[in-house]
Amino acid sequence: MVRGRSITSDAARRVLLLLAVCAAAGFHDTPASAHLQEIAAAVSAEDAAAAGATTAGLFTPGKLPLAVAIIVTSGCIIAWMLQARAGAAMYLRRIPALDAVTNAVGRSTEMGRPVLFIAGIQDMDNIQTVAGITVLSHVAKTTAEYDATIEVPTSRSLVMEAAREAVRGSYQAAGRFDAYNADAIRYITDEQFGFVASVSGQMVREKPAACFYMGCFFAESLILAETGNSIGAIQIAGTAESSQLPFFVAACDYTLIGEEFMAASAYLSGAPDQIGSLKGQDAAKVIVATLILLGVVLATIAALNVPQSEAVSRVLESVKGALGS
């Protein structure tokens, strides 16, 4: 019974060890003694395994290239954030999809129809859902300012709670807390196509003037976007699922492609340090592009029949080995 169970609590382990020692000392030939000795063996085995893990090293071997990549990328982003905070001028290209948010909400207000926002169909442990919620807070602030209504159907309970928190905060920030309606942010179902059926029905009945799809989507992306298209809504989509991007591009008015979607919150906030993080991201992109070009040149030299080819080939193989491990 005990062998199959992991004994993680330190206090519980000490008590069990104490009991086991007691058993060894006093209850030599009883069933309880046998049971406690089993416990002692299990605890000792776990201790031995833990000791082995500790001596194996503080750092997981083979993860060094990944760690270096994260440190360099994060370093670039933090450095540019600090520069922006210090007041350095940062140029950011316009993103038409995000500039259209205000127009879409304004159109909804004029037409007296709601704004529909869908933060994908994944849970809060997906970064795309978190990015979707950050965009939602900006859209909700605009709807509060324009006195438009916002509908947020969700496919996860936790996303519903996070969305409610975000929308409530935005309405408070806009000074329109009286207009906040918690029931407009509701849970439908975890089931992918059940969710789509419900939202599509709602779209056909209520005819929202603006639809936002920001998050992680799969096969439902086109069903939602085509339904939105059929009711004549302005549609703005954003996702990092590269397989769904063509569907959104075909059916929506504006699409945030991958990194644009991730940059949306920073762009909409306009805060200098957040804009700085986007510049840092661009700097990291330059480093990646340089490394790719270097790799192409080295691979080309290795493929040519020149005296240096063999040495270059060896270098490339060792780099591949390091990255592949």
Binding site: T8, A53, T54, A56, G57, L58, K63, I70, S74, I77, M81, I127, V130, A131, T134, H138, A140, R156, S157, L158, E165, A166, G169, S170, Q172, A173, D183, Y187, Q192, F193, G194, V196, A197, S198, G201, R205, E206, A219, L222, I223, E226, V249, A250, A251, G258, E259, M262, A263, S265, A266, S269, A271, D273, Q274, S277, L278, Q281, A284, K285, V288
Partner: protein, 234 residues
């Protein structure tokens, strides 16, 4: 105060998850964080179910457009809940024959399994099948040759679609060996392996960097808009 606590929890949990793949000592903490998330998600489901019932009841009460669907939703929800919790029709577990309700709720032959197999699966398959028509209507709009870019897209799609069917092989199969690169199936493969893969990788690299920047902004508490636009920036 609540915002600071929420931000601190998000930052600490995020940092632990970030570091856990690199440090063996943190691996178990990272796994435990995931388990805690699952527990919280399970508790939040009660709130979700509450929201479902409340919203649909009020829709029925107000006789909103489509209130009949709300009624069907509530009925289905109640039936599935009762069938699942009551383990109706669940065959007894041979290991614990004396214990009632020891069988799995979705064991073969149970009412829950029947609902899943003969109600839910056909309905979801029907919704999925609708996708074919949506693809056709979206493709019709996307491939209209309105400008130079659209014409390029149309031409590329034409080659790829034909190259992946027997028609493509039949049309250009007669080309001599030295011109085999112009056969539609080979052109299609070239487009997919070179242009499509290159574009896709560029997008994926951008996404990876975007994820890093977004995560850092949230972990460092610079982007707090996930708590509402009032959270704003640090």
């Amino acid at each position: 105060m609540m915002r600071i606590v929420a931000m601190a929890i998000a930052s600490i949990a995020g940092l632990v998850m970030l570091l856990s793949p690199f440090f063996p000592d943190l691996e178990s903490v990272g796994a435990q964080s995931s388990e805690i998330f699952n527990v919280i998600a399970a508790i939040a489901f009660i709130l979700g179910a509450g929201s479902l019932v409340k919203v649909n009841l009020s829709r029925i009460g107000r006789r909103d457009a489509g209130w009949g669907y709300a009624l069907v939703t509530l009925l289905c929800f109640a039936i599935t809940l009762i069938v699942g919790l009551g383990k109706i029709g669940v065959p007894p577990n041979p290991q614990f024959a004396a214990t009632p309700w020891a069988g799995e709720k979705d064991a073969a032959g149970s009412a829950f399994a029947w609902i899943y197999e003969f109600v839910l699966t056909p309905i979801t398959s029907t919704m999925f099948a609708l996708l074919a028509f949506y693809v056709a209507s979206a493709a019709f709009r996307a491939f209209r040759a309105k400008n130079r870019e659209a014409m390029l897209l149309l031409g590329t799609a034409f080659i790829v679609l034909l190259g992946r069917t027997f028609a493509g092989v039949w049309l250009t199969g007669g080309l001599p060996e030295w011109a085999s690169g112009l056969r539609l199936e080979n052109l299609s493969m070239f487009i997919m392996q070179v242009f499509n893969t290159a574009g896709n990788r560029a997008i994926i690299i951008g996404i990876a960097l975007g994820v890093t920047a977004t995560s850092l902004r949230i972990l460092l508490g610079i982007d707090r808009s996930w708590m509402g636009a009032g959270g704003g920036s640090a």
